[in-house]
């Protein structure tokens, strides 16, 4: 995939932005709070249709425009896939009088309205933000979110199964609370259990298969980043009793028949688990088994990085995961995803920075933000496009020399 044009209207700090995007690697340089990350956010929004940085999607609308009626933020990307030009447009709309503001979004693919579940995966992208280290050392919900975003982009039907599953869990929990408070026939749970089992099995099977592949892809990326010193592995811990990991080990036999067989087996496992926990669930008022409680652990050299890893280790491991995402999406969607790196270089040591530049040079299109150019080698800068952002304006011909060219860090990389 190759992104050619980005247009933003009333998005975050941008009133208006129209920009051609160069091929290869684009470095966005600028101080803090000038709007570098907003560019990455807008592009990742085209991949996921939900915000990564703001609390809610409606907060992506530029603050100054937010009180208009209607207030509309627009993202338009024009890109090439296999030589075919495509266009994706997103409108975030806030309308109605001040006390009854309503938010909605419209997604248009090739100018035709569509929904997020159908459009997801058309514009594959991978985003690295410094605080994403939470994927490794944060709460389990972060890791489920990571898997969901990746698999929604790459597995047909995953986004739909996820939304159906989440809704079924909400309905089942509401029924559990009713039964707990007012009593009633627990047999009513059976049909929600059935829906949970059917959609949940789809999620579980695809997560299990993905983690296996991602682990091996991330392993080779981490070996390169650490000169072969750190061996990565990953473990899927689904919230299901008597889940048999070996069931997924023979990845050689993939195929649709094998997959259907696995989904059927997991589906009945989820149903048995739900039935066994029925009384407990009614007491607690929540469903305690199923993919909404899944966990995944990341290890290097057999030690859990989330629990025991240093800050630098966590960051490097995350970077390896991100490169695994790129390879995974390339394999599943047949096109190289857009790589979006935010302030990735600043906390890496010189050898890891060098390896990252090498990986970037060998990959597809990428957009990289940085506060200064000090962390990049002159050789690397010579080959890439560098733009400077100042207060929402792009300077496409900035001074290219690192700000402090005779500093030790600068020399180390030339």
């Amino acid at each position: 995939m190759r992104l050619k044009h980005l247009s933003l209207t009333n998005f975050r700090s941008y009133a208006r932005l129209e920009s051609e995007i160069p091929d290869g690697i684009l470095l966005l340089k600028g101080g803090n709070a000038v709007g570098k990350t907003s560019i990455l956010e807008s592009l990742f929004y085209c991949a996921t249709f939900s915000t990564t940085l703001a609390q809610q999607d409606r907060h992506l609308i530029r603050f100054e425009a937010e009180s208009e009626d209607p207030a509309v933020a627009r993202i338009v990307v024009v890109y090439d896939v296999e030589g075919k030009e495509r266009k994706l447009e997103i409108r975030l709309i806030l309308e109605g009088a001040a006390d009854v503001r309503r938010f909605r979004k419209e997604i248009l693919a090739e100018g035709r309205k569509t929904n997020a579940q159908s459009a997801i995966g058309q514009f594959p992208a991978v985003l690295f933000l410094p605080h994403m280290t939470e994927i490794i050392d944060g709460a389990p919900g972060e890791r489920r979110r990571y898997l969901n975003i990746l698999l929604s982009q790459s597995i047909p039907g995953y986004a739909r199964a996820l939304s159906q599953y989440s809704r079924a869990v909400l309905q089942r929990n509401a029924l559990l609370r009713t039964l707990g408070e007012r009593g009633g026939d627990p047999g009513q749970l059976a049909y929600w259990d059935e829906l949970l089992a059917a959609h949940g099995a789809f999620l579980t099977v695809h997560r299990a298969q993905a983690i296996q592949t991602l682990a091996s892809l991330a392993q080779s990326a981490l070996l390169r980043l650490t000169d072969g010193r750190e061996i990565l592995s990953m473990r899927y811990v689904p919230a299901l009793r008597t889940f048999d990991e070996t069931f997924f080990q023979d990845s050689a036999s993939s195929g649709a028949a094998k997959e259907a067989e696995r989904i059927a087996a997991i589906s009945s496992l989820i149903r048995t688990n739900l039935e066994a926990d029925r009384a407990l669930d009614i007491r607690r008022g929540v469903s305690t088994v199923g993919p909404h409680r899944d966990e995944m652990r990341v290890m290097t050299n057999a030690v859990d990085v989330g629990t025991y890893g240093s800050r630098g280790q966590v960051r490097t491991t995350l970077l390896a995961l991100k490169f695994a995402e790129v390879d995974w999406l390339k394999d599943k969607t047949g096109t190289i995803p857009l790589l979006l790196l935010d302030e990735t270089f600043s906390e890496l040591d010189a050898s890891r920075r060098r390896e990252l530049m090498r990986l970037l040079n060998g990959g597809g299109q990428a957009i990289v933000t940085t506060t200064d150019l000090i962390n990049f080698s002159a050789d690397f800068l010579g080959r890439q496009t560098v733009w400077e952002i100042r207060g929402g304006i792009m300077d496409k011909n900035p001074e290219r020399v690192p700000m402090d060219s005779n500093s030790a860090a600068g020399d180390a990389l030339t």
């Binding site: 109605g96 009088a97 009854v100 035709r112 569509t114 929904n115 579940q117 159908s118 047909p156 039907g157 739909r160 159906q164 809704r167 079924a168 909400l170 309905q171 089942r172 509401a174 029924l175 009713t178 009633g184 047999g187 009513q188 059976a190 049909y191 929600w192 059935e194 829906l195």
Partner: protein, 201 residues
Amino acid sequence: MALIPESVQALIDAFSRLPGIGPRTASRLTFFLLKNESDAGEALAEALTKLKSETAFCPECFNIMSAGKERCDICDSNGRDNDVICVVESPMDVIVLEQSGGYFGKYHVLHGALSPIEGINPEDLRMKELFERVEKGGFTEIIVATNPSMEGDATALYIRRKLDRLPIQFSRLARGLPVGGELEYADPNTLLRALSGRQKF
């Protein structure tokens, strides 16, 4: 200080509570009625009063009917299949199925679908009446025509579980491609459904 007289605001508020009508449309409708010299307002008021007072639910299928009758026209009719029953969520669904001209059996209107989030449980729907009707015998097939949503699916599953032991055939409306549509424009989810529900040809 109120800019709008209370009686006008009251009608605006009443309109805004209706589905599909926002505050702006509500104001437009209200001011249209205020300004309009014909009897559009009176006619509307009369129709609204009669809406509730002159309609009732059929005691057999719970579809809407004119008040004072014993049963609705469909339940009363002699020319319909007495061994097939079609279960729907709302009276609107009966109207569209009738308009399709392809169904000649009886109906049962549930008045909603199961949704614990909204506090809608089996006892809030016309479930008990459905089960009694079916258990009385006489039906050979139940067509569950609830909406193709999660709540509609759950409702269908609930009905099947409750009536499973009876020697009756269960069916559910097929999902798939719209007639006259183009394959190219079908969304992937509909297409997936259409594929898995393909028919021998």
